[in-house]
Amino acid sequence: MNRPSSQQHDEQWVENVEVKPEFRGNGGEFFWICAKNVLLTILTLGVYAFWAKTNNRTYLYSQTQAGGERFTYHGRGGELFVGWLKAVVFVAIIVVGLGALSRALDQPLILLCGYFVVLLFFFPLALLGARRYRLSRTSWRGVRFSFRGHYGDFLRVFIPGLLLTAITVGLYFPFFHLNVRRYLVEHTRYGDTAFDFDGSGGEVFGKFLLMVLLTPFTFGFYYYWYSAWRHRYYWSHTSFGAARFDASIAGGPLLGLTFVNQILLMFTAGIAWPWTACRTAKYFASNISLSGPIDFARIQQDAKTANATGEELSGMFDFDLVGADFFGV
């Protein structure tokens, strides 16, 4: 090979590009990572679980590529561990405080209501914290993602939405779900460029009603078609600069994916998990795309997110249980 003669930026132009993600991992590789995780977690009586979670993400992210470039996960197990310790102290203070208060006033009801209120405010905090943490530790083409939402703003979306959903016996739910999604997407950035969302609850409402009516009569199967439609709707109303996302997730394949994964897990006592996780990642990655004009050279790194002061605070809410999946993040 001779000395190179011509090189340049690949994309100095601003024209239509299509960015198609692709998941390249496979269960056989992932299995060895998971096996090590399980072994070490048992040997350390659970402490290694934070590093295990990080190992999993590092593998799954690094095996996902878009436009030929791999994603990179920069999180570290120690951060999660410290975050978890803080969360434990935080929760312990609340539990002990509420218990003392209800004993002092001899009102067991205070404890119950207190827990409810705490959960109500804790859930959005955790949802935001987890998203902030994960995005700040994800990069592509050397540029970090970030989340710029504020807890106070988000509460104004979350609490009224939840209350309206309760008052309307669930009829408001599609609006609530969509507004949460909108908030999460619109405050997400890649470098200094924001994502946008222009979906509307009214357009989801009809499909939602149909789902509620049909799901019981189809043994629950129709839910997968609704879920697939919602994925497509949400993605096709998400844009990045002048480029727009699109998704081809469909009900049949989604049902097949879930069904086969459950069967695999059941018949192997869970050992097939690395394979099922890769199957899921592969399906979603290969059914989402971004196309339109993108000027990569103008997307600036926004360095302050990389060492944000609230890093550890947000890391503390990096639980999987808080429904990041529920909101399709």
Partner: protein, 363 residues
């Protein structure tokens, strides 16, 4: 053959998302990037790090700088061998591409893991749980049991009936005499609930529901049920159950998939639950015999239960239940009790039985 010095690479400057196609030359003291718009730039080996490329199929990734570093990606993993050959003494820097095990070995390992799990599930964990359960101090069990009993009592009206409670205690004393009750102090209580039920919490706490006392036709029936419940305490069934679940919960936490693990532990709980019921039936009969109380009470109680189940029509399949089917329990009890007759006296006298039968009526 000389190692290849020039490698095609992609460079990201860490400031923008622009991609630069470059060529990299492997030198003795560093990697030199050759590109039209970024000119020859050398990354000295001691200023850079390798952050990906451990898997043989992954691109190799080098970084230079702090939190938002410059990135150099080389798709061909053989560049690592070239660096090792062309820059001797820099080995500390390079993380070698590590081939993963072959598919055949992965399948073999997964199969071995399934086998290990099966052995652990059917033999290792229960054996371990039983030996640990035997070493759990009675005082710990008592603490757990008292809170369980308090929780049950809270869900129903308490039954303040000293005569009935005294009658119940008399039966328990008769059953537990001569060390048959193990190292436990039995505390029986009655709750004012129409359910036909009784339960044993660890440490000797036994709760009897009013409905059971009402539906029983004789003191011997109540004695039979008590003998059964006391054996759950003596054989430490609850303690073992908790200990059996701990390892699986740990695995669930490790892989972050607790739903699948919950299915495993629940089915396990049902399986062992049925075995525990049979053991309590068997040992309960032995206790009755030693205490000189007729086994027919316990059998009659289950026969009535069977008849009422028949009326309701159907019951859960055996594998979905914590208790064996009543019909099979009656058959087993008959077989065990029928082998040798013994002289027995009624569990209570007529006045005591009347007080117990009509428990909680007088307030």
């Amino acid at each position: 053959m000389l190692p290849e010095r020039f490698w095609r690479a992609t460079y990201f400057d860490g400031h923008t998302a622009a991609r630069y196609a470059v060529e990299v030359r492997v030198d003795e003291d560093g990697l030199t990037m050759l590109g039209e718009s970024i000119g020859p730039v050398t990354w000295r080996y001691d200023t850079m790090r390798q952050s990906a490329g451990l898997l043989a199929t992954d691109p190799v990734r080098f970084e230079r700088g702090g939190d938002t570093p410059e990135v150099l990606v080389i798709d061909d993993g053989r560049v690592l061998e070239a660096i090792l050959a062309l820059a001797p003494g820099r080995q500390r820097f390079v993380k070698r591409a590590r081939g993963f095990f072959s598919p055949r070995r992965t399948i073999a390992a997964a199969a071995a893991l399934v086998l290990a799990l099966l052995v652990a599930y059917f033999w290792g964990v229960p054996t371990l749980a039983n030996s640990v359960a035997a070493k759990v101090p009675v005082s710990w069990e008592e603490k757990v049991g008292s809170s369980v009993a308090a929780a049950v009592a809270q869900t129903a009206r308490p039954c303040n009936d000293p005569a009935a409670t005294a009658a119940l205690e008399r039966i328990v004393q008769r059953l537990a005499a001569d060390g048959r009750g193990g190292p436990y102090t039995y505390r029986v209580s009655i709750v004012d609930d129409k359910m036909v039920n009784a339960l044993a919490a660890p440490g000797g706490y036994i709760v009897v529901f009013r409905g059971l006392l009402e539906s029983a036709q004789s003191a011997d029936e109540v004695a039979g049920v008590l003998a059964h419940e006391m054996q759950h305490v003596v054989l430490r069934h609850s303690t073992r159950q908790v200990l059996r679940e701990v390892p699986f919960k740990l695995i669930g936490a490790a892989i972050g998939e607790s739903a699948a693990i919950d299915i495993v532990t629940t089915v396990g709980a049902y399986r062992y639950g049925r075995a525990d019921e049979r053991a309590a039936d068997r040992e309960g009969l032995r206790t009755l015999r030693a205490a000189g109380i007729s086994p027919n009470g316990l059998i009659a109680f289950f026969e009535r239960l069977q008849a009422s189940e028949g009326q309701r029509g159907g019951s859960l399949p055996a594998y979905l239940s914590t208790h064996p089917s009543t019909a099979s329990r009656v058959a087993d009890l008959r077989a065990l009790a029928g082998s040798a007759a013994y002289t027995s006296t009624p569990a209570l006298d007529a006045a005591e039985w009347a007080a117990l039968h009509g428990a909680c009526r007088v307030r």
